[in-house]
């Protein structure tokens, strides 16, 4: 039996699954000040008998998302080594930062050296501002981390109490700004995150739960709880990923569908193509923070069941924010849910209370509650339709850099819309009708997010770069190796792939992952200097593909 728990902003959902059947599910309100309480609450509801054999638990938590949105940061500073290039004043960081001399180019060559005195002076400036955590991030550090490492040595000597993290340890992907942000976010949140993980482990121990426990990442992959401190920021936005994977498990194999997850405050959209949730081409952007975190392609609209209805310029419109619970459920203001209640699209709560909340709107416009409700709902449906079309267009317009890719473009047009979450069914039906899509919704859609978490497995998509001229290997997760004896001046594609797989397998082992990696794509660039070939750059994209462990086949 396996358990999936998704701690969302409003509710915490849980499911107990055995042999592709959801045996139990539950939903409790989330206490944002005490996430652990909600998790324990769900666990207690799911596990009725202590004797029940739980083989695996996966938790998706909104903790990291909350910390970033609320900017609950520990005092963190950044030392940046940009070298020549873009003026950093063109970017914004939510941390104190200083620039030091030094530079590395795209091949990992050092083009400017460090200056120890300057480093001490600049770090002292940050320490004077009260920082306790220091990120050191160099441009192109994944191609050669030595300046970051040397800087850290100098900092350790002069400021031994500072907690230091290096950019290339956080991500090996190219994007200096996002790497700096990721490093800062890690440092600014890791203590809070560690506390949460420790107390979660404790709570499980107290309940004699000894099975493997995993935490869900934004790309729908999972990490064993003991290794999660290397991946804290990757857990941001794991909730929408859980929903998308849950939706996948409720659809027939190889289906393409739009996924619409309607919560109280927002609606999240994602895309499943031929049975695979679509990954975003760039890292997660959360409010105004650009991160290096790989995630599904998720779009959000500030429209949900608790979104208020108001009148502006004599027009019915939405407030685009949560106005507390719907009036029909005891709230004070009219919401989208009340519209559906009035139009008999849902039997949630008390219809009279919903109507009562519409009185002032009705008298202002001199229109019946039904008409106002219909207009508000039309507006929501219109905006959702636009967003879905936009997401699809974005996917189709994803830049491609190779002729074969442009010649072999996939031409998939999803014909299905699967709706998830409380007000999902009625809104999903309206949107599907408008867009001429088949609407999919069955009772388990209410807990699709928890199902997605329960079934998630480790997934990876990484890049390894081998420079045979410099005999260096770098990777998208920060692994770097110099003077490797395994590199020959000229390597065949097979040799390069073999070496890449060997390195990647070791990385998987270190993370406690048992899975068979695959090569996704591989290319080689001859480096020509003057008129002769001096080496090669092999770029190998490899990983562990998404494999949701089995489809759910509960009878409707």
């Amino acid at each position: 039996m396996q358990i999936g728990i998704d701690v969302g902003g409003t509710f915490t959902d849980g499911v107990l699954i055995e042999n592709a059947q959801v045996l139990r599910s539950c939903k409790v309100p989330t206490d944002s000040q005490a996430l652990l309480k909600s998790i324990v609450h769900v666990l207690e509801k799911l596990i009725e008998e202590k004797t029940e054999k739980i083989s695996r638990i996966v938790v998706s938590t909104t903790l990291m998302t909350n910390l970033i949105l609320e900017k609950k940061y520990l005092p963190t500073g950044l030392i940046l080594i940009p070298g020549p290039g873009l003026n950093l004043k063109e970017h914004k960081f939510p941390f104190s930062w200083e620039i030091i001399t030094g530079g590395v180019d795209f091949q990992g060559r050092i083009i400017k050296n460090l200056n120890e005195q300057e480093i001490v002076k600049k770090v002292q400036c940050l320490v004077d501002k009260g920082i306790q955590h220091l990120g050191i991030i160099g441009k192109f550090s994944p191609r050669n981390p030595s300046l970051e490492i040397q800087t850290a040595e100098i900092v350790n000597r002069h400021f031994p109490t500072l907690e230091v993290k290096l950019g290339h340890q956080v991500t090996g992907q190219l994007n200096f700004i996002r790497r700096a942000m990721g490093t800062g976010l890690y440092l600014a949140t890791y203590k809070t995150f560690a506390q949460f993980i420790a107390s979660l482990k404790n709570a499980l121990k107290e309940r004699d739960i000894t099975c493997p426990v995993f935490i869900l990442k934004a790309d729908g992959g999972v990490i064993p709880i003991d290794k999660i401190m290397n991946f804290t920021i990757d857990t941001v936005l794991s909730g929408p990923a859980a929903s998308s994977f849950g939706a996948k498990s409720l659809l027939p194999e190889k289906t393409s569908a739009f996924v619409m997850d309607i919560g109280g405050t927002t609606t999240d959209f994602s895309l499943i193509l031929d049975g695979n949730p679509l990954l975003a081409s760039r890292g997660v952007k959360i409010s105004d923070v650009y991160t290096p975190v790989r995630s599904l392609a998720i779009h959000s609209l500030p429209i949900g069941g608790d979104t208020g209805i108001e009148i502006k310029n004599n027009q019915v419109t939405l407030t685009f924010k949560r106005e507390g619970p719907p009036a029909c459920c005891g709230g004070n203001t009219p919401t989208l849910t009340d519209c559906m209640r009035i139009l008999n699209l849902t039997d949630l709560g008390d219809e009279n209370k919903a109507r009562l909340s519409f009185q002032s709107l009705s008298s202002k416009l001199d229109l019946s509650a039904e008409i106002i409700a219909q207009q508000a709902l039309d507006k929501a449906v219109e905006l959702i339709t636009q967003e879905i079309n936009y997401i699809f267009k974005q996917w189709q317009e994803e830049p491609l850099y190779r002729i074969w890719q442009l010649l072999n473009e996939k031409n998939i047009k999803p014909r299905n819309l699967i709706s998830i979450g409380g007000p999902g069914k009625p809104l999903g039906e309206l949107v599907s009708k408008k867009m001429n899509l088949t609407h999919i919704n069955h009772p388990l859609c209410q807990v699709a997010n928890a199902i997605g978490a329960a079934l998630a497995s480790p997934t990876y998509e990484e890049t390894i770069r081998i420079n045979t001229e410099k005999r260096e290997i770098s990777s998208s997760w920060g692994y770097f190796s110099k003077n490797s004896r395994q590199i020959k001046g000229k390597m065949s594609a097979e040799e390069a792939a073999g070496l890449a797989l060997q390195i990647f397998k070791k990385y998987l082992q270190e993370n406690g992952v048992e899975a068979q990696p695959e090569i996704y794509h591989q290319e080689v660039f001859n480096m020509v200097r003057g008129w002769s070939t001096t080496g090669q750059i092999h770029e190998i994209k490899l990983g562990v593909p998404v494999q949701v462990t089995g489809l759910i086949n509960n009878k409707e």
Binding site: P84, G85, L86, N87, K89, E90, H91, G103, D105, F106, Q107, R109, I111, K112, K139, F140, L174, N175, F176, I177, R178, R282, Y290, E397, E398, P399, L400, Y401, R402, I403, W404, L406, L407, E523, F525, N526, M527, V528, G530, W531, S532, T533, I537
Partner: protein, 443 residues
């Protein structure tokens, strides 16, 4: 006015002329790395577009492809040209305030009649975009500033007779570099005299020199010409590290002239210092277009001493600019019969060297003297080697042709199809946007 800068990046990582050719897979690899690492694509005011294919029609509107379309064009060429069109179209629709087609393969050596690859170019991306924008949206006055180190002889050839297109090329003196043309006496045909300006610079010219040329010649001329669109053929081989040329311009220099010119659309041309120049120049250009600070970009190889021009060279540049500006100011007051004679058709003969594909083309070009339009153009073109190489006849009716040139072009096509003296007869009827061959005539 849109606030966005558009970028279409197509490095064609799976295309090369040959494995060690400068025009190979690796060329834009480090440019990609630099743009990604700097986070340039994360700027909310920079939009990246996906590369697109051009249609056959878009190519035929600009070129005669000999012996046939399929013999000259590959997928890579269609994508580079299509991407230039895409940026032009986004600019027209005001989605972007300016844009950069950072694409390969390049195009500015491809002439009106193209037999294959010369100077690494098969078809002319900028010209194809220009004719597309003019045909679809009715633009007329266009300025092209070619900042590649090589003379943009292909673009010059295509618009040599077009009075509405101002072509300005600055380049390393043709006596010292391929293609060996681009001298100050190449000023346009009889119907477009003065609408081609060539600025041959001495080897070793750097930032100071080209900035002077922009301030004292190019910008004032553009100011007076008042184009509807300014296009920059953005070659990057004036860079001090380029292996194929001998100039001394820096990435910062390229950024400054981009800022000065403020082009609507830029299209990448040459530039083969794949490590030492391209990542930095492309970054500088992109930032300059987007109105961001590029002053901290500095190549590792750069030395202060390289930044100053010799006084002899500055003297040469000053005189050159004065002379050309004088020509520009007086170009409408010249007695053209002294240069082009009085015949109805002005006819020239030339040999064109296809360096990449390694053959020579013999070509006769006849342009109808016309005061109402660019004039009907008729080419007779054949590859020289081998006695039996056939001759092709190409008839081009310009996009804003007068009724007389249109009629004469169509009549000539029918007549030549009937006479059957040529291997193939092509009609490029731009006003009607139809592109025919003898085969269409015989059905």
């Amino acid at each position: 006015m849109s606030k966005y800068t558009g970028l279409v990046f197509f490095p064609a990582f799976d295309w090369a002329i040959s494995p060690t050719h400068p025009e190979r897979e690796e060329r834009l690899l480090y440019t990609r790395d630099q743009l990604l690492e700097e986070g340039v694509l994360d700027f909310p005011d920079i939009i990246e577009y996906k590369a697109k294919f051009a249609d056959k029609q878009d190519i035929l509107r600009t070129h005669f492809c000999l012996p046939s379309f399929e013999n000259v064009i590959t997928d890579a060429h269609l994508i580079a040209a299509g991407s230039a069109i895409l940026i032009g179209e986004a600019w027209h629709h005001r989605e972007i305030k300016n844009g950069f087609a950072l694409v390969r393969p390049p195009g500015h050596h491809a002439m009106h009649v193209t037999h294959g690859n010369r100077g690494f170019c098969n078809i002319n991306n900028e010209a194809i975009m220009i004719e597309y924008l003019r045909k679809k949206f009715g633009y007329r006055k266009i300025a092209i500033v070619d900042t590649d180190v090589h003379h943009g002889d292909g673009t010059q050839d295509i618009f040599y007779h077009d009075p509405d297109v101002l072509f300005i090329s600055l380049h390393q003196d043709g006596r010292t570099l391929f293609p060996g043309s681009g001298f100050i006496n190449e000023l346009g045909g009889p119907n477009a005299y003065g609408k081609t300006l060539n600025i041959p610079l001495l080897p070793g010219t750097g930032d100071q020199g080209i900035n002077y040329v922009f301030d004292n010649l190019i910008l004032p001329v553009l100011e007076e010409f008042k184009p509807e669109i300014i296009i920059n053929s953005a070659g990057q081989d004036n860079h001090f590290t380029d292996p194929l040329a001998n100039m001394k311009v820096t990435a910062f220099g390229y950024g400054s002239i981009t800022k000065k010119l403020n082009p609507d659309i830029m299209v990448l041309e040459g530039g083969y210092a794949v490590e030492t120049a391209l990542p930095y120049v492309n970054l500088a250009i992109t930032l300059a277009l987007a109105g961001k600070d590029f002053s901290q970009i500095q190549e590792p190889q750069l030395k202060e001493s390289m930044l100053k021009e010799t006084s002899e060279n500055m003297e040469y540049i000053k005189k050159l600019c004065e002379k050309l500006y004088l020509i520009w100011q007086n170009h409408t007051n010249i007695d053209l019969t002294k240069i082009f004679g009085k015949d109805d058709y002005y006819t020239t003969n030339r040999q064109i060297f296809y360096d990449t594909d390694y053959f020579i083309v013999e070509q006769e070009e006849a342009v109808r003297r016309c005061s109402d339009c660019g004039g009907l153009i008729i080419f007779k073109s054949r590859r020289k080697e081998g006695r039996k190489n056939p001759t092709f006849l190409c008839i081009s009716i310009p996009i804003y042709a007068c009724p007389r040139c249109q009629q004469e072009g169509k009549d000539r096509f029918l007549q030549e199809c009937r006479n059957n003296n040529f291997e193939q007869v092509f009609l490029q009827n731009k006003p009607e946007d139809t592109y025919l061959t003898k085969d269409d005539y015989y059905g």
